[in-house]
């Protein structure tokens, strides 16, 4: 079963008004189980809109979104996915641990169990020692790691990420990318990852989905098969070939298939 199926989805904001915007036009997307898919494109191409549709934070104008065989609405109510945004969105009045516990708390998980799970997730993102800190005490990169731990806390089969590393510096970014990959590999999570960085998309993904704006639509879907996802992978010729392929797709020249 596919983790996500988006079929012929159109999203029109402010329909019927003078400020009507066609954000997405007839989009089809399938994310396989355990697959890491990046959505890339210039701003205004509807990649965040597409992510929000999958998360059922907004409803499609036409078309259907299916998450793990269920409608997006049902999947949201069952907390079938974890989500992380560009802003960490941590609650400043809660400690790091309590922030990670939040989704478990709302699910009604018993206190001892959610504490254990949250501690486990914090260890996963390397912040076990900061459980008692408040978000304001942490740097931006650490806050983002807490947000990722929070998204993973319910051990969702699907992870949705909207430019989670967008506000971070290059070094922190690369380290978190590696961490994210190892977490996904460990947990077998399917991931939809929105980014506007070509190198980030190529390094992380099994498949890069290229989108173009006005109206937002998918123009290419480029499979990436790197020999390894580490520093060696970052330097392999294939990595640069893939980057070129994605860049060409973004510019509108027909995508060359990558061997």
């Amino acid at each position: 079963m596919s983790a996500v199926v988006v079929s012929s989805v159109t999203k029109i904001f402010n329909q019927g008004r003078t400020d009507e915007v066609v954000a997405l036009s007839d989009v089809d997307l399938t994310v396989g189980e355990g697959e890491f898919v990046s959505l890339i494109g210039p701003s205004g191409c509807g990649k965040s809109t597409l992510l929000r549709l999958i998360a059922d934070l907004i409803a499609p104008t036409t078309g259907t979104v299916t998450v793990a065989g269920k409608s997006a609405g049902t999947a949201r109510k069952e907390q079938a996915y974890g989500i992380a945004f560009q802003q960490s969105g941590l609650f400043e009045w809660r400690t790091v641990l309590k922030n990670v516990e939040l989704p478990l708390e709302l699910r009604g998980t018993p206190r001892a169990e959610r504490k254990a799970r949250a501690e486990e997730m914090l260890a996963l993102v390397g912040l076990a020692d900061f459980a008692g800190h408040y978000p304001a005490q942490l740097s931006g990169g650490m806050q983002q790691r807490v947000a990722i731990a929070r998204a993973l806390a319910v051990q969702p089969p699907l992870l949705l990420m909207d430019e989670p590393f967008g506000a971070l510096d290059e070094m922190t970014r690369e380290r978190l990318q590696s961490e994210l990959l190892s977490i996904c590999a460990k947990t077998g999570t399917s991931t939809v990852f929105v980014t506007h960085s070509i190198s980030e998309a190529v390094f992380l993904s099994d498949r890069v989905v290229v989108m173009s704006p006005r109206p937002g639509r998918i123009t290419a879907s480029i499979p990436i098969e790197l020999p390894s996802r580490d520093d060696a992978g970052r330097q392999s010729p294939l990595y640069f070939e893939c980057i070129t392929a994605v860049r060409q797709s973004l510019r509108g020249t027909p995508a060359r298939s990558v061997s």
């Binding site: 069952e78 009045w93 740097s139």
Partner: protein
């Protein structure tokens, strides 16, 4: 410790200004083109501070209780009314803010009237409220007038606070399948605390004013508002006396402000400035 020192310095500065003006000001004040621009500095208008303090120790009337006991009792009476008014006002303000946050149409329809409510003169309103005085004791009427002033800052401040969470937080709660109530409890209410507490301080001050003015305009006996009126009738023969009552009212205001500040201590402990760990 340092704060207490600043408070003392503040009091000292006020005392020096008062006595200093008495020293240099003309006893008849200053009149410019028929308009009095500086108050009279004679003993009748501005008694010496030590006269006021000394008056506190002497009996109210010959053979009566000392003035300070009368003033303290009156302040305690008014403090009770203020507390009741503050509690009612804060509760009404919170409920209104939550309703306005929940239903946009309520915000649009109600907010103008909430603001309008504060432009109605209290003195005009007080007899009206007193007219309903059939079901509750007289002090309750005054408490309602205090509540009428106190609810406003809470409603407006709390509405801002409830609307303060970033869209990311709201979307996050939605992704957790949380309804309006849980989002209110887990996100909007905690996020509103930095807005709520300044609003409560304003509400506390407003409740004191409401209680004092309410007592005067409804003729309720026993409180500090009434005492100011009673003592001011003797202002020509005993000018220091009315200042003792005013001193009491001012201290009452400070006491209420202090008590309201105490409310926030346990809740705002973690909002203090902290050092950022960089790793």
């Amino acid at each position: 410790m340092r704060r207490a020192l600043y408070v003392l310095i503040g009091v000292a500065v006020c005392a020096v200004l008062w006595e200093g003006y008495k020293l240099v000001g003309s006893p008849d004040g200053a009149v410019l083109l028929g308009v009095r621009v500086l108050p009279r500095a004679d003993d009748l208008s501005m008694p010496h501070l030590w006269t006021v303090v000394e008056r506190l120790g002497r009996p109210e009337l010959t053979g009566g209780r000392p003035v300070w006991i009368v003033v303290v009792n009156a302040c305690l009476f008014t403090l009770g009314i203020t507390a009741a008014g503050f509690a009612i006002g804060a509760l009404v303000g919170l409920v209104l803010a939550a309703l306005m946050q929940r239903f946009r149409i309520v915000e649009r329809g109600l907010l103008p009237y909430v603001i309008l409510s504060q432009t109605v003169p209290l003195v005009a309103l007080a007899p009206l409220v007193a007219g309903w005085n059939v079901l509750w004791p007289g002090w309750m009427t005054v408490a309602l007038i205090a509540a009428y002033l106190a609810f406003f800052p809470v409603a407006v401040g709390m509405l801002r606070g409830l609307q303060s969470p970033a869209p990311a937080g709201v979307e996050l709660m939605r992704s957790y399948a949380s309804g309006w109530w849980r989002t209110l409890v887990k996100l909007r209410f905690p996020a509103s605390l930095p807005y709520l507490f300044p609003a409560l301080r304003l509400a506390g001050a407003a409740a004191v004013v409401g209680a004092v003015v309410g007592e005067i305009s409804t003729g309720t006996r026993g409180g500090i508002g009434r005492l100011i009126i009673e003592y001011s009738r003797e202002a020509t023969s005993d000018p220091a006396k009315v200042y003792t009552a005013m001193l009491g009212a001012a201290l009452l205001g400070l006491l209420v402000a202090g008590l309201v500040s105490l409310l926030e201590l346990p809740l705002m402990r973690h909002r203090r400035h902290v050092e950022v760990v960089t790793l």
